[in-house]
């Protein structure tokens, strides 16, 4: 209902370009298209979201896109190894702007149990992360909350971390 009031307000008082800007943000926030990279139990829990119990489609996420060019939400599950990192970076570079990144599970965030020679521990210097969701694996409820965070940020016109130039490429 709140959104309807905002719609009235914009229609009456603001310019058309502002209104279109708002519509764009509204549309973006309600049609996030995710791409999932990685495996393990966190990825498994991400798949659970598409079942009837959690029904992520009500948030506008209609299936996982396996073409990076169509996706705007990168979900990274499981530890980022040195072997998969070039592919992950390749996927990230192909995604359309504005792009958002979720690190799913403690293995993805910092390696978790697997602190050894296979782990790419500084991957988030190259791929800026917007939302970290801890847990091994995180529960579906917390994944939904993470997605809602991103939705809120899009609505408030916050820029994704990928736009901030301090990041080393």
């Amino acid at each position: 209902m709140r959104n309807d009031f905002i719609l009235d307000e914009y229609c009456l008082t603001t310019k058309a370009s502002n209104f279109m800007e708002w519509v764009k943000r509204w549309a973006q926030s309600r049609s996030l298209w995710p791409i999932l990279v990685g495996s393990g139990s966190s990825a498994n829990e991400f798949y659970s979201l598409f079942g009837s119990r959690y029904d992520i489609e009500r948030l506008g996420i209609d299936g996982i896109k396996y073409s990076p060019a169509q996706a705007d939400l990168l979900v990274i599950a499981g530890p980022v190894t040195k072997k998969i990192f070039p592919i992950l970076k390749n996927v990230y570079d192909q995604m359309t702007e504005p792009k958002w990144v979720i690190a799913l599970g403690s293995e993805a965030i910092g390696g978790g149990l697997f602190q050894n020679h296979t782990l790419m521990d500084n991957w988030n210097e190259f791929i800026p992360v917007d939302v970290n969701i801890p847990g091994s694996p995180p529960s579906p409820e917390s994944i939904i909350q993470g997605i809602l965070f991103i939705r809120e940020r899009i609505e408030k016109n916050a820029k994704p971390k990928s736009d901030i130039k301090e990041v080393r490429y």
Binding site: F50, K82, V91, L113, N116
Partner: protein, 555 residues
């Protein structure tokens, strides 16, 4: 039964001594003709299946036996299906001269040998330099005891997958095309990259590259204590973590010679059958996804959710229950859980009937999954196990062949396939779900009373602390609960096949070496043999029908 076989074997190999161990026999073979020995064992004594090849680094081992003047040891695990006998062939080597390869005797030996080169730098004859699990620009051999990580920060560089010049020319002339699938793909689950060389739509040849989620679990095992290893073992499977931790805990209990109470055994059976159902449901869902039948996937997700709910009620966690401890279970069932379980079992049973209607008797589904034939001969040559082996018509299930816990006392049947098509693998899985439900009901009906944890100094120490799994190495030494120094191989029937742990203990609080015998690592090799001649779409159906789990594939 098995004793007579070992006696015969002992007479045949006369100067070489065949030792009797718990699982069967052990041969210490210090000559170079290993491939000759294994081919004799295969043809004369029917050791048809090569379960695993693994290596051990003896550098700096405390309780080194007297005959160890060498540095490494290669161990071949063989299985005789007829007599249910296992044989372990230990081959000492100093790692300088290449060892005779057995990949012509046992076809699945190829990747195992490649993995040993990757991890230890031990060469086998006529072997390529490609690494299996580590990335191609990696320096050093990580499972050696004196390994220092020198390739810090380096990542995989692109390289030619089909290295021959010829294929490039063929592609340039426009006759063939090369298609890359994965690793970012729903069916390959983020761990397998597959490259197909296509003639029109037909696959001419294909290759798999694995290791994208390789986390060196076997290396971390060596740095953690025996009890912390349970957490690592759970990471091996994303669908059924309970089964993989059970395999580890079972092996460690064998090592300690620890008997767990009846109630713990029964509850472990219940939880492991529930996990098996989850795994099979997931496989059926994925099979339907890859064959363009997405509705079934959502039905399977719904059924899976029911079991996760049961796990959450009993343990507090949906997937990684982490309730296995050495010596039993850390939790007992909450009040009312059994009634809930019966309700959910009824629901799943009803819905299986619906799956039957939609899939089993559907002509479209039959025609779509009637591909990717694995003959029984091929299944044995490649050492398949679990539902994929039984779908090829070979009756071998560890729950029947060498029953652990109460599998001897419950009434259930082993479904078998006939042709070895994807449809057979589907049928075996869906029937196994029914049998698992049957087992659960029987066990819950006759659930023994009593404690869930064995009385043993080890369990007393960890039962007193509340986060029971975390223990320091000093705790072990102080309380004198370090295991005896020996080698042990123990396996259970996991959802995918035989999941085994080969544990080597040197009598300290940490394992000297842990080798995981993962079924997926074998299964993916047979796929590369089967796919040529099929069309590209069928490749994905074949891939998902084998249920390849990245956790245990890459380890």
């Amino acid at each position: 039964m098995s004793l007579s076989l070992l006696n015969k074997l002992g007479k045949y190999l006369s100067p070489i001594i065949v030792e009797e161990i718990e699982e069967g026999g052990e041969i210490y073979f210090d000559k170079n003709e290993i491939s000759l020995l294994l081919s004799h064992l295969k043809s004369e004594f029917e050791f048809l299946v090569l379960l695993d090849i693994c290596a051990e680094d003896l550098l700096g081992k405390k309780n080194a036996e007297e005959r160890q003047s060498h540095r490494y040891e290669i161990v071949y695990h063989l299985l005789n299906l007829e007599e249910h006998t296992r044989l372990r062939v230990r081959l000492p080597t100093d790692g300088v001269e290449p060892i005779l390869s057995v990949r012509e005797v046992f076809l699945n030996g190829d990747w195992y040998e490649q993995e040993i080169w990757d991890m230890y730098g031990i060469k086998f004859s006529d072997q390529s330099d490609l690494r299996v699990l580590n990335h191609q620009s990696f320096i050093g051999f990580p499972l050696r005891k004196d390994f220092i990580n020198e390739s810090n920060g380096s990542t995989q560089e692109p390289y030619d997958f089909f290295d021959e010049q010829e294929s490039v020319q063929v592609v340039e002339r426009g006759l063939r095309s090369i298609v890359n699938i994965g690793p970012v793909h729903p069916i390959t689950r983020g761990s397998v990259r597959s490259i197909f060389e296509l003639d029109g739509e037909k696959i001419v040849r294909n290759k798999f590259e694995i290791g994208y989620t390789h986390k060196a679990i076997e290396k971390i095992f060596e740095e953690k204590t025996w009890t912390t290893g349970i957490l690592l073992a759970e990471q091996l499977s994303d669908q059924s973590p309970f089964l993989s931790s059970l395999a580890y805990v079972n092996a460690v209990e064998k090592l300690y010679d620890l008997e767990i109470p009846d109630r713990a055994m029964a509850l472990r059976m219940v939880f492991s059958e529930l996990s098996r159902i989850v795994d099979h449901l997931n496989c059926i869902g994925e099979l339907s996804l890859s064959s363009g039948n997405e509705t079934i996937l959502f039905k399977c997700l719904d059924l899976r959710e029911r079991i996760y709910e049961l796990f959450e009620k009993a343990t507090g966690s949906r997937t990684k229950a982490n309730i296995n401890i050495i010596g039993g279970l850390s939790l007992d069932l909450p009040i009312g859980w059994i009634a809930d379980c019966i309700i959910h079992i009824d629901y799943i049973e009803d819905n299986l009937l619906m799956l039957d209607k939609l899939l089993t008797r559907s002509k479209v589904w039959m025609a779509r999954t009637n591909v990717c034939k694995i003959t029984s001969h091929m299944a044995l040559e490649y050492g398949l196990s679990g539902p994929s082996l039984r779908a090829s018509g070979i009756n071998y299930d560890l729950r029947k062949a060498s029953p652990y816990y109460f599998y001897n006392d419950v009434d259930f049947e082993i479904p078998l396939g006939v042709n070895g098509h994807c449809y057979d693998r589907y049928l075996v899985r869906i029937e196994e779900i029914r049998q698992s439900l049957k087992i659960i009901v029987q066990v819950l009906d006759n659930l023994p009373f009593g404690d869930c944890v064995a009385t043993h100094p080890l369990t007393e120490l960890f039962h007193a602390k509340s986060p029971q799994q975390f223990s320091t190495a000093e705790d072990f030494v102080k309380n004198k609960i370090t295991p005896p120094s020996k080698r042990i191989y123990s396996s259970i029937e996991a959802a995918n096949g035989e999941l085994g742990f080969y544990l080597i203990s040197d009598g300290s609080s940490k394992p000297w070496r842990v080798k995981v015998r993962a079924p997926s690592f074998t299964h993916i090799q047979v796929l590369a043999q089967v796919l040529p001649g099929l069309i590209l779409d069928d490749a994905l159906v074949g891939f998902s029908s084998l249920n390849i789990t990245p956790g245990e594939l890459d380890r």
